[in-house]
Amino acid sequence: MSVLKRKEIPVALFAVFGLTVLFAYFSGVKELESISSSLITWPVTLAMFAIILGIAGFVGYHARIVSKRLGGWPYSLEALLAFVITLAAGFVFKPLYDYIVTNIVVTLTVAVTCFVAFYNYTLFFRATRVRTVWVAILIVVSIMFILWMVPVGAMIFGPGFTAVVDWIYAYPNAGGMKALLIVVAVGIILLFIRGCLGYEKSQIGGE
């Protein structure tokens, strides 16, 4: 088997670099911290190459649809034109680029985000039926939070209402959130150990 196809080399690199960063963080050895800092900045550089790869994939995909007149090709043409115009504006004519971002990108992003709110309301309507005690608790707490987030909660139920929701926020909710984060962190540690030992290969293209 070709050396380049062997899985052992990427696994070894993963383990060496991962352990270097980990050891630098906990040991406090200055020389290692410097190496670790450099290693941590590498993903930013790699991400730039990922953007180039993404652009190539995007252009290739839509160009194929347009050239073969596949279904929805006008949309692909529109996507390609939007991409080329924005890219060219960014390099050649900055005021046009600023105009596109401020008046088209920002506005459309905000519109799409706000559009989700409408679906949330239908979700409230369709997905919440008090079939069990647990669902009832969930709905009551949800209503308390919804009212707490705007001044009407305290206006209707008095200042004690705010104190109760604050307590729920600060203790049961924050506790649950922290527990979730700890579970995720332990999971990441296990994933790292599996990666170092070569059992986890998804990051190098394995199953």
Binding site: S37, I40, T41, P43, V44, A47, V101, T102, V105, V106, T109, V110, T113, C114, A117, F118, N120, Y121, T122, F124, F125, T128, R129, V130, I139, S142, I143, I146, L147, M149, V150, P151, V152, A154, M155, Y169, A170, N173, A174, M177, K178, L181
Partner: protein, 276 residues
């Protein structure tokens, strides 16, 4: 489908009410917002402030009011107490330069037209470091070696040539670290060892993460969501987009409660018996 459309229509009607009739419901100020306000107006004369705008366009909708009011307060203090501001973005979790675009938008649409830049000199009173991608890596760099992280400012000028940056090298050179974002833990991980007060303009969804840090004193103060942004606008004396949107916010939230309660009342009283 018809019911969905009815809900959509009902929501549009409810949210349109403030355009016809302003409700003007008073906004009580929370203790967290008062502390946030105090953390800014209590800044000592001549100090430096670092602000990281790590918000994308979607979060901008929710917390722009807090961000704009904060900047107006800081720029006012630049004139009154000669404080200095280093303003930048790391792109947050998305890594995108949205924050840089929003910084310039705030300057062009709110600070310059409002006269907040008059009498101030770029490079001496404030500096824009632009987009510093890398999120946590960049957050760490901002408080360990800012000159190494950002060799030039947003306009390509070497920061060694910028008068304000000559006296700023690490987190210890700031009297206040501030940021706006969806997140809390990532900023605490990189900044909390600096022993400098930290304030945050956060999404409402981040409040549960902020509470434990706030209780232990790592986060000095925070704004949590649109309502808190309206509070700081009111407290600072700079009413803006958050206060303007409060009526619609309140009606939208009441509509959510109605959509939760009414179908359940129907289901518990009639629908369950009919098996609907």
């Amino acid at each position: 489908m018809t019911l969905d459309r009815l809900i959509f229509l009902g929501l549009i009607v409810v949210l349109a009410i403030p355009f016809v009739h302003v409700l003007g419901i008073p906004i009580p100020i929370s203790p967290e917002t008062r502390k946030y306000h105090q953390a800014i107006i209590g800044l000592p004369k001549g100090c430096n402030v670092l602000w990281v705008t790590d918000i994308d366009f979607t979060l901008w909708v929710e917390i722009q009011g807090g961000e704009i009011a904060t900047m107006k307060m800081l720029f006012k203090l630049m004139k009154e107490r000669q404080i200095h501001l280093v303003w930048t973005t790391t792109g947050g979790d998305t890594g995108l330069p949205d924050g840089r675009i929003l910084i310039h938008r705030m300057i062009d649409e709110y600070l310059r037209p409002g006269g907040f830049l008059e009498g101030l000199k770029y490079g001496e009173d404030y500096v824009l470091l632009g987009w510093l991608p890398g999120w946590e890596t960049s957050l760490r760099g901002l408080v360990t070696d800012i000159h190494k992280l950002a060799p030039t400012d947003d306009f390509g000028t070497p920061i060694d040539q910028i008068p304000l940056m000559k006296g700023i090298h690490s987190g210890k050179d700031f009297a206040l670290l501030g940021y706006s974002s969806y997140y809390v833990d990532q900023y605490m991980r990189q900044w909390s060892d600096q022993k400098v007060p930290i304030i945050a303009d956060l999404s409402a969804s981040a409040v549960s993460f902020a509470k434990p840090w706030f209780a232990k004193g790592f986060v000095s103060a925070y704004l949590g969501g649109a309502a808190a942004c309206a509070e700081i606008e009111q407290l600072s004396g700079y009413p803006g987009p958050a206060a303007a949107a409060m009526d619609a916010q309140i009606l939208g939230h009441i509509a959510a409660v109605v959509v939760l309660v009414v179908p359940n009342l129907y289901w518990l009283t009639i629908g369950r018996k009919r098996g609907k």
